[in-house]
Symmetry: none
Amino acid sequence: MAAAAPPKPAKRSPGRPRDKSREKAILQQTLAILGEVGFVGLTVDAVAARAKASKATIYRRWSTKEELAIAAFDLLPELELDETGNLEDDIVGYIAQYGGVLRTTPLRSVLPSLVAEAMHNRDLSDKLHQTVARRRRPGVRLIEHAVERGELPAGTDAEQAHELFIGPMLNRSFFDHERFSIDDFRTMARVVIAGLRAIKPSTGAG
Amino acid sequence: MAAAAPPKPAKRSPGRPRDKSREKAILQQTLAILGEVGFVGLTVDAVAARAKASKATIYRRWSTKEELAIAAFDLLPELELDETGNLEDDIVGYIAQYGGVLRTTPLRSVLPSLVAEAMHNRDLSDKLHQTVARRRRPGVRLIEHAVERGELPAGTDAEQAHELFIGPMLNRSFFDHERFSIDDFRTMARVVIAGLRAIKPSTGAG
Amino acid sequence: MAAAAPPKPAKRSPGRPRDKSREKAILQQTLAILGEVGFVGLTVDAVAARAKASKATIYRRWSTKEELAIAAFDLLPELELDETGNLEDDIVGYIAQYGGVLRTTPLRSVLPSLVAEAMHNRDLSDKLHQTVARRRRPGVRLIEHAVERGELPAGTDAEQAHELFIGPMLNRSFFDHERFSIDDFRTMARVVIAGLRAIKPSTGAG
Amino acid sequence: MAAAAPPKPAKRSPGRPRDKSREKAILQQTLAILGEVGFVGLTVDAVAARAKASKATIYRRWSTKEELAIAAFDLLPELELDETGNLEDDIVGYIAQYGGVLRTTPLRSVLPSLVAEAMHNRDLSDKLHQTVARRRRPGVRLIEHAVERGELPAGTDAEQAHELFIGPMLNRSFFDHERFSIDDFRTMARVVIAGLRAIKPSTGAG
DNA sequence: TCGTAAGCGAGACGGTACGTCGAGTCTTGCT
DNA sequence: AGCAAGACTCGACGTACCGTCTCGCTTACGA
């Protein structure tokens, strides 16, 4: 009974450590349910039941349904773009892939719900902003590369340019999903690229 | 085709007719509550209490919270634009006004909620689409007028052009509301206008 | 224009007179519904729908559901007893007939509901008391006749004696309906009759 | 047949056990409210509010208002009779006590409501029957003792005799509560006792 | 023959309670 | 401590019924 204290620095808090595998099961089921019934139809009870987890275990990790939903999206693979060296093609590829995720995962139906909730919830708003920004990083990079290649004028604001490409896609996805059309997005991308080339950034006369 | 409308006696259905004033009171309170606590915080009980209406009276007219919310937005005034004859200024004015409504009315927080619900609900989706399209009509008209004036090439697709202007604004409003900036929108509008001028609409030589 | 006042006292109020046939239709349907689903399941809306009457027409006559139910029982035929000259047989016949009404009409299920409501409602209580007393009149009369015939001692309190006969039947009907048994009631009646004969009413020593 | 009960470990079901104190609080408040406004005025919302319980907690235990009311009566103390050795006095004491409970507790107004509901509800009917039978046990015992003492003939059916005593009291309580009179019940008890003595139970010579 | 006054069917209205469901918290015994 | 299970409070849901209140229409009567 007289035990010698182990040499370990014991940076660990006492008690049983959390079971990493629970995390995965919970988020997987969350994502699955989101795909089936959307965010409004998502219930924590259902997640608990299907993941064979207790609600306490879920709430120990994420304090609200919204946080749980955001966390679930970390399971989605990041966009992987292979660049062709031609901005228009790259952008269209990016939009197509982004839109594909929106169409084939629960993301499309969940995103608006999270946006809605974020309106009154600063924490959530920050978390959502970060997650979205991270997922869009590859798209912004495309534009930066085009500037480096000289396809776009030096000094072009890549983030702003990115908004010009992604904005219309967002609009279709939210308000006019049935007319989601890659051809249209190519046409619009062409316009934006032409505009970016025609306008000298930041300079006086313009 | 020019048919004289017959003086229909409009055979009234029997029974006590619905009281138009209840409709108004209900929608007004709905809008007020939306402004105070957002869509998620909206409860039919609260609307009933504040409008001195019974829940039955509400549900008789709108079968869900979502329909009620959409109906309430019909109370918002339509956008009224005075055109300057210069597309850039007109677009910036339009975006500013549209964004102003988003910022000063419950619309911003309600819209995403409705979009979310519309994902699983065809009726709501249609209703939402119509309402949004109607409210955007003045913006599309700006572009049509610019084409008529020759500021934009003949054959320009006005609806598509409209998406290029409104898309980025939506993006900011939903995902980055703190950086909502008219200056940025002017910059972006300038790019789009330049692009539209540089590109000949696909109908021509190609 | 100078009209001689008609000899009639003109006891009529102005306006359209009530339609007697509505009364009948309403009460009939009330009774029918009571038989199908009991008092708790009875709704004024259902009565209105099935009698093709408006609720206003119903409430103009009876101000509550309870009054309506009581009124409906006036449609039930009064008990008609043919006396044999032998009290035991007469009482058994009376109990059998009374119990038959309880078993074959909604009365059994409605009676307790009305009693319950009458506990807090003086008007209803009085009305119920009257109705019940009236329906029991023939039973009390049987006993009075037996006294006249000398089968029971002079001075016997007929109402109290009636209670001794009807009480047990009531108890079975309310709390033990499955053991409703004419044979048992005959046995009990025999006991009561013997008791009434053995006891000299009102006298000193007893 | 004489089996030794095994020392069962009583395998507890998993999860948080029900809180016995909630049960008590709920039933106490139910009884209190019944006393104040009767069965018709009883609402589950009110019980929940006053017992600081959620409606879910109530409905988890009792699925209807009726079951709740019956359960509440298990809180009423059983009748405690001290026998004098004289049947008439014992019966009058019993009736007085029974009637006292009816007058001083919500039982009187609730009983008819439960009877009414039991008419269409087998489960409730059984439960009500059991509860009533249990509460009446002491009264039946009085009669059994009188038979043992020889005050009543051997072979007397105690349950049936009990009905002769209790029936008239029920009748007064339900239909003529204002004339509830112990003196009358004594008179009637005297008649019944005399009758029971005069009649030889059917088993004998007949 | 008209106007007034009421009755009528239909159904909307304010209220109030229903029984259900979900979020987030708490409490068991076991690990 | 963490875990599964499940009870707990709170609060909203959408439905149903009561008793009242309009509608437009239909009788009667008395001027």
